[in-house]
Assembly symmetry: C2
Homo-oligomer: 418 residues x 2
């Protein structure tokens, strides 16, 4: 088509400005208008039309595609209106999709529109479309990865510079890798939304984000990282979804000890990585920038160009598979998952303590693959590090409470092993 | 559409059988017939129709898509006939595409058919479609990678088990990682075809495969690998294409020293990796199985399913961008490329030798970033390892011939540094 694809943008933050900059170099795509919270605010980019009412975008008859990069769930009704007004949607909004995706995809299907969201997971890394296209012959057993750049940056710095979590968070905030309120990243919400989206595509089921087990990195200490290193592991915030018995799904986000033998343990700073395991492809890994103005814009504009080429070549009906799934996944509880564990135990520094730990593990049929007594403290306590064999989460928890029942022994940290 | 997509397969080797096995699980794709060299040969898969005349496939009116997994260039005319008979093509044939791609893509364009070839580069790794879709907003500066599993397996074993090239080749052949005649892999032909295909997509120009500089791994010694390790490098067969001044392209395949700091140095055995560097995405890496029955089938069947969904949703006109490029790339000669070099020099074990090397480098304005004298030999010679700063290939070559002009000093190996 000779006529340009007409874009409306909701949100002109870092990503929004990146998208405008990239699109401004293209003569076949035109930005009609942008909606922002505060129209008076000075921005890096100049646009002819700026509004503070996002419905101006959703209702504008001269807009073909609405790009939503505002974040949060406030724009749900706006996007619904846009779809009802026959606009295609490109969004980088992981929370909105994880919480209200099904609703939006159903509506899009009803109105024969597409919602593309390559940027919503792993920033600039192409992962959503490859799963839907090149890898569509596969049945997947698992998808896992490092999906949050902020926490990976913090954990990398803690590891490389042997600093505390607090110091590294501050550093990340100063460098703009972490927000003033870092909760969404460090408590694992961001990674949780992303793994919900990936699980939805990979397993073709609706995912209840509220049933995803989530643990952040705030309890990881420099000591844990040092001990992990001594044992041949790095500590990473891993988001994963895997198939277990009778097609149930085990979906969760929490820190894990990752063997240095695994390439993913080498993923540093704000870089993201996504691992897929399926048949017939076996294992593939995608690595790249998980966030940032331009990498994210790469995915957003990539989606826009996909829509453009589809419209040009197919007219209005788009082949890109929307994620319409009626059935909900059967998500198992963390208590019923099997894991190996790293335990950092503060015990009385006296004979028999290690025996007691061994005895409690034995009582719950938990194998110990490694146990090390660390330096004794002045308060007469000693740190003992245990790596267990695979066992049920509920069993390790009972074992821990029994171990702590003496009122002296304390399991300072429990971290799962990948 | 309710009616099945009808497939004709040319070639029932490892990949062909993998494709049949994967397709046999799908009820919306039907294999009509397969063409093979020897119809009598016993195979893992059973098909109702087998012919030894590939034109039976190209001319069969009941076939929608021709899957070519025969390899080599013998099937060029067959594929042309198939396209003229309005069939879409899915191929894993890197040599055919690298040598005759332009011709085939032009013909496909003329007849409004597509040629998909995800499996032709990096086996099961989705790379071609992602470049054309999710990453289509990017201008790329370079594409590079480990594109040949056989050579990477051999180099990994040489490194891990400190074995000679010959021993590892034999091992690879016994395990089926290398063919009886390993030339295509170990001399770099396979990687050359693949980088030609990638460069074509990434830079949008026709590539003359005969102008690609190519060096295999046969001259790499266990000693080179040991010295590289001591200096913090791994040796990998790297295929790369990068933009240089005034849009000229530097495309080549040869062994390189890769710093252990780079994730790609960790890619082991038959695994492949592709690195892309562009704007706005910055750096992304794709890792996975570069060959094998099922990983390759994953890409072939993925392409088949893409064609299916396109036909269902767009009718016959397919949106997937074919690689129609009229203009040839300006490919620079290896003599005009700039590199850092590892030199393994056999010199007389006497005072002044290192001085002489330093002098010759200085004369050609070649910086030395590292020089180490290794153990002396009984024949009165000593090995000196040099890592140079960046300089022109033609300058290092003149320097080397000057160095060797004394008839005693010998540069045993010259390996470029990534």
């Amino acid at each position: 088509m000779e006529n340009k694809l007409r874009i409306g943008i909701i949100g002109l933050g870092t990503v929004g400005c990146g998208v405008v900059k990239v699109l401004s170099k293209m003569d076949d795509v035109e930005i009609i208008c942008a909606a922002v919270k505060n129209t008076a605010k000075k921005r890096e980019v100049e646009l002819n039309c700026i509004t503070d009412n996002p419905f101006d975008i959703a209702n504008n008859p001269n807009i073909d595609v609405v790009v939503e990069v505002a974040g949060g769930c406030a724009m749900l009704d706006v996007l619904k209106a846009a779809i009802q007004n026959k606009k295609h949607i490109v969004t980088a909004n992981k929370e909105l999709l994880a919480r209200h995706g099904a609703e939006l995809f159903d509506l899009a299907r009803e109105h024969n529109r597409v919602i593309l969201y390559e940027a919503a997971v792993a920033g600039g890394i192409p992962i959503i479309l490859p799963i839907k296209t090149s890898l569509s012959a596969n049945k997947f057993n698992s998808v896992a990865g490092i999906l949050n750049g902020t926490t990976n940056y913090i954990l990398t710095k803690m590891d490389e510079e042997n600093l505390s979590y607090e110091d590294c968070l501050l550093k990340a905030q100063q460098l703009g890798f972490a927000e003033t309120d870092p909760t969404g990243d460090v408590e694992g919400f961001d990674a949780m939304y992303k793994i919900a989206i990936l699980a939805n595509i990979v397993f073709g089921k609706r995912i209840d984000v509220n049933k995803i087990y989530k643990e952040g990195i705030t309890k990881i200490s420099a000591l844990d990282i040092r001990y992990a290193n001594e044992l041949g592991y790095k500590i990473k915030l891993i988001a994963q979804a895997k198939k277990v018995d009778n097609d149930a799904l085990d979906i969760r986000v929490h820190p894990m000890l990752v063997s240095k033998e695994r390439p993913i343990s080498e993923i540093k700073n704000a870089t993201n990585a996504v691992l897929l395991n399926g048949f017939p492809v076996d294992k593939v890994m995608f690595v790249g920038p998980g966030a940032g103005e331009f990498p994210t814009a790469s995915s957003v504009v990539g989606d826009i160009l996909c829509i453009k080429s589809e419209i040009e070549k197919c007219g209005e009906i788009l082949p890109m598979t929307t994620c319409h799934h009626s059935e909900y996944a059967n998500q198992i509880d963390i208590e019923d998952t099997k894991n190996c564990y790293y335990l950092c135990i503060k015990a009385k520094n006296e004979p028999g303590e290690i025996g007691k730990i061994g005895f409690e593990c034995g009582r719950h049929a938990i194998n110990i693959s490694c146990i090390i007594q660390k330096e004794a403290m002045d308060d007469g306590s000693a740190t003992v590090i245990v790596i267990t064999g695979e066992c049920l989460e509920k069993d390790i928890n009972t074992m821990i409470s029994n171990l702590e029942s003496d009122g002296i022994t304390k399991v300072v940290n429990k971290i799962r092993v990948m």
